[in-house]
């Protein structure tokens, strides 16, 4: 399985799917992938995030950390437009999300791969069907992507579990399936919320390697985690910026990480 993960089959997939999809929509060239400008957010009772500015440059690798309940998941949701800031702006590829139609946001979201903290799937569909769901949503034929899918399943080591239903997967398998689903459209940016939340050390290292590999292919990566050892391990492999949410604001973490 380790072999499958380190195999270099995946870059071909990324390049090909990227071309096949031919991303739609006029986007300011050279713009940041995702930008938050003075964003504040509250769920109603008191501000959770007070003034957050964040830019994800193309090809960068970020960690977002902070204590449980600090607002990491919330910040990620703001980043992919699932939540709208109370004040301030979110920019997707240089465009203000608040001025875009829901359909336009949906189209741009195909360029943002998301691994949810709770890794939700369509529980009545097989793992393979779940992983290729973004293809169907993007209007691509399942047939033309069959090879890509097989490669991707091998890459995350789920070939044998392809026909299982999501509720039958282990925590680590769910997270890998979620990762595969997040990257199948070859997105420009990957947002992962606690991707190693409920897996052992060895598995978390494997997932980290997958994420680092994606970053080497030029993808922008943002990982929310409170697992500091994961951050330390990543820093030996990639140049990562570590951000910390403190008191509703995002700060650059110290050199101790």
């Amino acid at each position: 399985m380790l072999k499958a993960l380190t195999a270099l089959a995946y870059p071909r997939l990324c390049i090909e799917t990227g071309r096949a999809l031919g991303h739609k929509g006029a986007v300011t060239p050279g713009a940041c992938v995702i930008e938050l400008e003075n964003v504040a957010y509250s769920y109603g009772d008191g501000a959770l995030l007070t003034q957050v500015s964040l830019t994800l440059a193309p090809g960068s690798f970020h960690f977002l950390t902070g204590p449980s309940g600090a607002g990491k998941t919330t910040l990620l949701k703001l980043c992919y437009g699932a939540l709208h800031p109370t004040t301030g702006n979110t920019l997707f590829f240089g465009e203000d999300v608040s001025r875009m139609s829901r359909d336009a946001v949906a189209n741009l979201r195909r360029r943002v791969g998301v691994v949810h903290q709770d890794c939700s799937f369509l529980d009545h569909l097989s793992v393979a069907d779940n992983i290729r769901l973004p293809l169907s949503v993007a209007g691509r034929q399942a047939e033309e992507a069959r090879e890509d899918l097989a490669e991707l399943m091998a890459w995350v080591g789920l070939t044998e579990r392809a026909q299982a239903l999501p509720p039958e997967l282990s925590g680590g398998e769910r997270q890998r399936a979620a990762l595969a689903r997040a990257v199948i459209l070859s997105p420009d940016v990957l947002l992962a919320d606690e991707p190693t939340g409920n897996v052992d050390w060895e598995m978390s290292q494997r997932l980290l390697r997958l994420l680092v590999e994606l970053n080497r292919m030029g993808k922008t990566v943002l990982i929310a985690t409170h697992d500091l050892s994961l951050i330390r391990a990543a820093k030996t492999q990639v140049q990562a910026r570590v951000l910390r949410i403190v008191g509703g604001q995002v700060q650059q973490a110290g050199a101790d990480l």
Binding site: D103, A106, L108, R110, H116, L122, L125, L133, V137
Partner: protein, 299 residues
């Protein structure tokens, strides 16, 4: 994307997109049942509307287009007044044809009451004139002219009979259509409720689809196709059952004029094909509206 693509998807489907909505038990059964029950009833409403339509036409045709003039006068003046009335009719616009009934014809009209051999001379029987109308016939004007020149003439233009008969036939037909509209509205309400329940139960599915970049349209059409096909299926079942029920109504005896009409004849059967289609169209519109509203709310 256009309605053409909508229709294409509706008919042909899309293997993967169809399966994104989990097969759900009760909303599916509710939709099929509601559509089937309403289609069954709609068959009767349609039969009623068609029967009243036929009745109105028959009554209208039988009584329209002809009038009768009765000349009631002493024996000595009867012939003269009849001549005068015929003379007036000749110059009256809107009268296609007029003739006095022969004694034989008058005798046969009276036969049911007095027997075949009645002696008309011995009875004070009025002379009858049959008038066939055409475009522009004006009974009120004719009545005035007759009153001035033929004191014994009474014009009966059958309006007394025709009016109420036509009104009641039209009322029946109206009721038939009203029932059809109410049934369609009930299908819309039921399907709309079922679709809303299904959408609410699948909030998680919708969240996952949104996460991977599904547009409202993509999500909605999967639900819309499901409910449209279910309503179509239910509509077909209900219409078949209703059709069998109407076809197997015992044929009433000839003399019972009204019941005679309740049934489908010839091309009427083609009209029943509209019922399942109507179910499908109504379900399509109801689900589409419910889905877009729910998706807006969930945004």
């Amino acid at each position: 994307m256009t309605w053409r693509e909508d229709l294409r998807y509706l008919v042909l489907g899309d293997g993967q997109a169809d399966r994104i909505v989990p097969p759900s038990g009760f909303t599916a059964r509710l939709t099929v049942f509601a559509a089937a029950a309403m289609a069954f009833l709609a068959v009767f409403a349609l039969a009623l509307a068609l029967a009243s339509n036929r009745l109105a036409h028959r009554w209208g045709a039988e009584l329209a287009g002809s009038s009768t003039i009765r000349i009631v006068a002493p024996e000595t003046q009867l012939g003269q007044q009849t001549e005068a009335a015929l003379g007036i009719l000749e110059t009256t616009p809107g009268v296609a044809f007029a003739r006095a009934l022969t004694p034989d014809e008058q005798r046969s009209l009276l036969a049911p009451w007095f027997g075949r051999d009645v002696d008309l001379q011995a009875l004070p029987v009025p002379q009858l004139i049959e008038v066939i109308e055409e475009e522009g016939f004006d009974p009120a004007g004719l009545r005035l002219r007759l009153a001035a020149e033929v004191p014994g003439a009474v014009l009966d233009d059958h309006g007394r009979w025709r009016g109420p008969l036509l009104a009641s036939a039209n009322r029946l037909r109206g009721l038939g259509w009203l029932s059809t509209v109410l049934l369609a509205a009930s299908v819309a309400a039921m399907v709309s409720l079922a679709a809303q329940a299904s959408l609410a139960a699948n909030a998680q599915v919708i969240a996952v689809l949104r996460l991977v970049g599904a547009t409202d349209r993509y999500i909605a059409q999967a639900f819309v196709r499901r409910f449209t096909l279910r309503a179509l299926g239910g509509g077909v079942l209900g219409t078949l059952a209703g059709g069998v029920a109407v076809a197997s109504l015992p044929a009433p005896p000839e003399s019972v004029g009204f019941l005679e009409g309740l049934g489908f004849a010839g091309a009427d059967w083609l009209l029943t094909l509209c019922i399942p289609l109507l179910c499908a169209v109504v379900a399509f519109a109801a689900t589409k509206t419910a889905a877009h509203r729910a998706l807006k709310r969930l945004a």
